[in-house]
Symmetry: C2
Subunit: 783 residues, 2 copies
């Protein structure tokens, strides 16, 4: 009799050789012999109950998604729906290949992968059907075609037997592409209840894993009768069976992660397809409050057995993800911690789930809207007070941010934005009070009044948009400013600040909550802490009405792409122009160009391209302009036309669409005003463009035809700014064309509603001619 260890090794080798057997090409000598072995019960593995606690590894602590990259032993369960094509014509090779690629990649990273797979019946069906057709007589064949072409009926067990070898050989051939070996383990459900065979199974698999071999586990359908003899393909390898098999296996083997792949995306709050049905990213069987909004229904699209299996494994310290096997790179992404499928965990969430934040902001916004303008202003005044009262705490938190940013080598100009001072806080407080005072009447203002008919008045009234999400850069003073604008306009707010300012943002945010508390729910304004939450929030168009991303054009584009129906008020680049006209005051031109370019080159409203009328090309003015820019340290590039006429001097501009954002600019010569306008409309970003001219006609044409949010005459482009425009502060500078353009203050955060007051009118009375429309514009009562 073999020793325990030897017996285990023997079983491991047997499993391996069974696996290898399938790969006729690579191991032809095993080809025929072992194909028979596979369905010989003698070599089947048995599982046993193990009660000895020492046999188990230390139970794992509850994991978060972000911990999954540390996971070592992973069980992957593939459902039939993943492996077979939607049209049921054989295997879905694309998906299967991709899964093999991913499993091999993870195995080659040093993890221990175990696969539980369905699909042998599907594989065998295809194989046997051909043979059955070939072995039919021609007459049988013709009869079959006449009777509707029904393919010959195939016995599922025969399909399984025929398919098992082929499926394994395919797995083996595929895994060999990545230098990974596989072994085959066939089990039946009854075997699993035998104590002794369970132990054997565990040891066999452990041994295989030590040898860096992937065990591929399948139900031994050839000998195990299908649960219901008349069920269809999916029923034969009952999903329930393989799910629970995988869960049992995962817990037996102390696996840390079980991935159950099928053709649904995961667990839903309601049956998929129903309104409000939403994929749960995280599910804790023990804690119902994870399911938001009181919805405790769980979609039952064949999910019951999966949830049961997942709960079973989770109770045994194995995290589980139920996901869609058709999703690209699902396995690798799960291990990377990405939000794929539904994650079963007992881990307690840090912080409030984002959906709840959004929902509470919506509820809070209704309360805020119901307040009077005076009360909203009082919140902001209190916030201004708190900024001064808690000055020491704020500056200490900010100091921490500054030190950390310095240690990480943040750029000088970014540091200046991050840094808060007593002076800055004082200016900030003054600004907030101004916003409060100015906005008292902003909400609920009558914008238009129309006498629609006798006894019927239509009013257009300003109302808050609802809930805003503002994503802002690492500039902590933006937080109270944006919060003040949002509160004064009656909007709920979700804030996501740059992570470099996290300590400052945290304390500033707590002050916002403190200021709100006496008047409205504190979660009317919420701080979103994690970057990955943004993508989730962009799906919640039932709670969020407008997204304002402040930052790079790349950020804006990404947000636009991720947004599911929530409008984005984008601030893209600022390619601003100054055009020096034929009739310009040349001293003024020098003054304006100097300010537009050099006052704050990193700002979006600073000049990037200087357009000069051709008449100035050979004047003293041109030389003076170049000299001024040189003295200011501005690197000049020539546009194509200027480049042609210059024999030497500045390098050619790579593109006329460059936002330099530094002491660098392009100069181009234009033939006339029309060419200047055309140039700006073609290469500009519709932000801010200025003409320097004493000619009223030229100015009028420029101001009318230049297609930008801000068009200036005889003024620096730097004036395009919420504060300078008299808006108090700005949520951002919009380069969108609808809703709000240019610097966006309170007004840009409002929309309107139509309020109609009648005396019982019906539309049919008008179409019947009994009543008549008047449509007379009435004077506004206030304003």
């Amino acid at each position: 009799m073999l020793s325990q260890r030897a017996a285990t090794l023997y079983r491991a080798c047997r499993g391996l050789s069974q696996g290898l057997s399938a790969v006729g090409i690579h191991q032809p000598r095993h080809c025929n012999r072992l194909a028979a072995v596979l369905i010989n019960p003698k070599y089947r593995c048995y599982a046993t109950e193990v009660n000895d606690e020492e046999d188990f590894l230390q139970p794992h602590a509850a994991l978060l998604r972000s911990d999954l990259n540390k996971v070592k032993r992973i069980v992957i369960k593939l459902g039939s729906a993943v492996i077979t094509r939607e049209d049921e014509c054989g295997l879905a090779l694309g998906r299967l290949g991709s899964i093999v690629e991913q499993v091999a990649e993870l195995q080659n990273q040093g993890r221990e992968m175990i696969m539980v797979t369905s699909g042998a019946v599907a594989f065998g069906k295809q194989k046997l059907r051909q043979e059955a057709v070939l072995s039919m007589s021609m007459r049988q064949n013709l009869n079959s075609i006449e009777s509707g072409g029904r393919p010959p009926t195939l016995e599922p067990r025969a399909c399984a037997a025929a398919g098992q070898s082929g499926l394994m050989s395919l797995y083996d051939a595929m895994f060999l592409q990545y230098g990974v070996k596989t072994a085959q383990i066939l089990v039946t459900k009854p075997d699993f209840q035998n104590e002794h065979s369970r132990e054997n199974l565990r040891e066999t698999i452990s041994e295989l894993l030590k040898l860096n071999i992937i065990p591929i586990v399948n139900a031994n359908d050839a000998v195990a009768p299908p649960p219901e003899p008349d069920m269809d393909l999916a029923g034969v390898i009952s999903v329930k069976d393989n799910d629970s098999l995988a869960a049992r296996l995962a817990s037996e083997l102390n696996s840390e992660l079980l991935v159950i792949m099928s053709d649904v995306d995961g667990l839903y709050t309601a049956p998929p397809g129903m309104p409000d049905s939403r994929l749960l990213h995280t599910y804790s069987p023990d804690r119902d409050q994870v399911i938001i909004a009181g919805k405790s229904r769980v979609g039952t699209g064949g999910m019951d057995s999966k949830v049961k299996a997942a709960t079973y494994a989770l109770a045994r310290h194995c995290s589980v993800v139920i996901c869609n096997g058709c999703e690209e790179n699902a396995i690798v992404n799960i291990v990377k911690g990405k939000k794929v499928g539904t994650f079963f965990t007992n881990a307690v969430h840090k912080g409030t789930p984002v959906e709840l934040q959004a929902k509470k902001a919506r509820e809070g916004s209704r309360k805020l809207q119901a307040l009077s303008g005076m009360h909203r202003a009082a919140i902001v005044n209190r916030l201004a007070d708190l900024l001064l009262e808690r000055q020491a705490d704020i500056l200490a938190a900010n100091q921490q941010d500054v030190q950390e940013a310095f240690a990480e080598g943040m750029q000088q100009s970014d540091m200046a934005r991050l840094y808060l001072s007593e002076q800055k806080l004082e200016t900030l407080a003054t600004g907030l009070r101004q916003i409060g005072t100015d906005s008292v009447d902003a909400v609920g203002k009558v914008l238009q009044r129309t006498q629609m008919a006798e006894g019927m008045v239509l009013e257009k009234i300003s109302v808050p948009i609802g809930v805003l999400m503002v994503i802002f850069e690492s500039r902590p003073d933006a937080l109270p400013q944006v919060a003040a604008l949002s509160i004064c306009s009656g909007n709920g707010l979700l804030l996501k600040g740059g992570k470099e300012a996290k300590h400052s943002n945290k304390i500033l945010f707590s002050l916002v909550q403190e200021a709100i508390e006496p008047f409205a729910p504190i979660d009317t304004v919420a701080l979103v802490s994690r970057r990955e939450d943004i993508a989730d929030l962009l799906h919640l168009n039932q709670y969020i009405d407008l997204v304002v991303p402040r930052g790079s054009e790349e950020l804006v584009t990404r947000i636009q792409q991720q947004s599911q129906g929530i409008p984005v008020l984008g601030h893209s680049e600022g390619i601003c122009h100054v055009y020096v006209d034929q009739d310009a005051d040349l001293e003024m031109a020098l003054h304006i160009v100097k300010d537009s370019k050099c006052d704050y080159p990193a700002a979006c409203n600073s000049m990037e391209t200087l357009l000069i009328h051709k008449d100035h090309r050979h004047s003293l003015f041109f030389d003076k302009m170049c000299e001024m820019l040189r003295l200011q340290g501005v690197t000049v590039h020539a546009g194509p036309k200027l480049g042609q006429v210059l024999k030497f001097g500045p390098s050619l501009a790579a593109s006329m669409k460059t936002e330099y954002g530094s002491l660098e600019c392009a100069i181009e010569i234009v033939e006339d005003l029309d060419e200047a306008i055309e140039h700006i409309n073609k290469f500009g970003s519709s932000h801010t463009d200025s003409i320097v001219t004493n000619n009223d006609e030229s100015a009028a044409k420029f101001l009318k035809m230049v297609d930008s949010a801000c068009v200036f005459r005889n003024a620096s482009t730097r004036f395009a700014d919420g504060y300078r425009f008299g808006l108090g502060a700005e949520v951002g500078v919009s380069t969108s064309r609808i809703h709000a353009r240019g610097p966006v203050g309170i007004e840009g955060l409002l929309t309107y509603k139509y309020v109609l007051t009648g005396t019982g009118q019906a539309a049919s009375d008008f179409s019947a001619g009994k009543e008549k429309f008047i449509h007379e514009r009435l004077p506004l009562i206030s304003d």
Copy 2:
């Protein structure tokens, strides 16, 4: 010596057996013998020059994408980049599997598929590397690890030889999943120039195709020296070689379609990554005008040889698609006519390419904006005249639509919308004239004036949005209305109408062009004829500023998802409520409910849910209301609360979020005003909601707290309409929350710009304290 036919058959069988040989599992008897045959030059296929024109099939007429589903013989060329993983660790099995699935699917549809594949070297490299490591001594192995772990150097030709059998066996095993057999053809470039061998090649492949076998063609790298001995993997099987091989093959075989798959999406207008770089969906080598905007540069990311090969094949009547092999279902989608990759064709486009339409609408919009309001009104007045002058033609075209729609079984209510009459045209003309008159001052209106500082005035001025795209249902009178609103607001316009109204739309559109002609370019307004063009237009955010989809919520959602940064002014469902308050005038309530539900049940502003205060539940009024609805033929459903108290009577409403759009509505009982408001905000669609009450306080609360675009007191919901609101007409009813809410007329199609007139100010003068802001609101000059 064999006869010609016998020789061909012999070669075909040889190719087949070579293919079969690779499938050791299925055909184990061939296993070892034929692995050697593969690199034996004796069995190689040779190609010959054929000059006899009769040998060619009839050259195919130039194809459009939509013709590709009729294509029978297809050559698929897979580049190394498709077959190997990005990290160069072996084959990309997921992609390869998916491609095999698609090719098999098309073959099983009865098409003739031919594959040209790279990848043998990659395959062999992986195989040989393991063997090399195994055959190294332990010391060599350690040395190799110490010296940075560089893997042993492998000879590319050896890799190719070792890889060829494995690659073929893999293809064969994969294709067998779908019951498809393959055969292997190895060719070298020099062979291809031999006239005799070319003929043999063609006949061999034709024979294989007749036998329903897929020929898999590869360069015989084992015997052909790589072009550059020191080049990397991609260089060994030079992409150029296999591209031109595939093109030669495709033209030799009179294939109708060649798909060249690599890791780029297709042909770009500029190197990918550059601004303005854009994928060309269609490319005609002969006609440069397909490349719009004068850009004739073609991205050169390894594209040269592909374009050369594609041009070669196209000149020989084989359409070509260059696409990304990583794109899901690329091959099947190409054959379905979808816009995947770049389509090389000599076919002449029908109509103007949509990008050109959008660009011209943008240019036209600038001209339109430069006109005076009087001129824009003159266009619309002329259009009104034309509607009456050409009445007979319009009605004849409309009659054609109506007849076709009737033949196709259009519903009665849709027919009513489609149908035009003299009366309708007259009303339409009157409406247009009104729009013209009302809008004369709409553009360029001063909305706000601020004294920013001494000598510096800031004005906020209404301007057109730019270019609109309006997608509207099969209601031809919408075309002149939308055109009029757009023209009067100075916007360019792309129109896409329902196809059922195509004849009517065509003539109405021609009248719009006729009216525009004297004042602005006729293509300021354009008609988009094909539905699939919409997806393309939604990418052109440089030309289109706002999309207004009128129609189902599903349409709106789809447009939102497809839009690449173009805002969508959505009109989703109208779930409108009437709430009968405790203090309502009950006669008035009956009148308003009747009108709201029954006046035009299909309209979005008709009532779907009636909320009744609980005090009315047991009153005569409740019975009267039910009786009135019954008499009007309205099917009533009970909300959950009403359902609980009713012992018998109406069925329960499936959901309180249903838009019935017919003589059907829900009734629900509410405890009080607050519950009514909550119900509406929760289940409504923020469209239009009305309260019937005599209590001013209740009314004020309802009008303030109900979060809808239109909130009414004592008036029917049916008044929410552009005409009834006095806007002349409407582009649609917006349920978006920003920019424009409710019925959208001229004002909703305008945005604003800030115009700043200074006297030479610089921002730095203000920050230095030399100048001070005033920020005083000035009176508006007009209005």
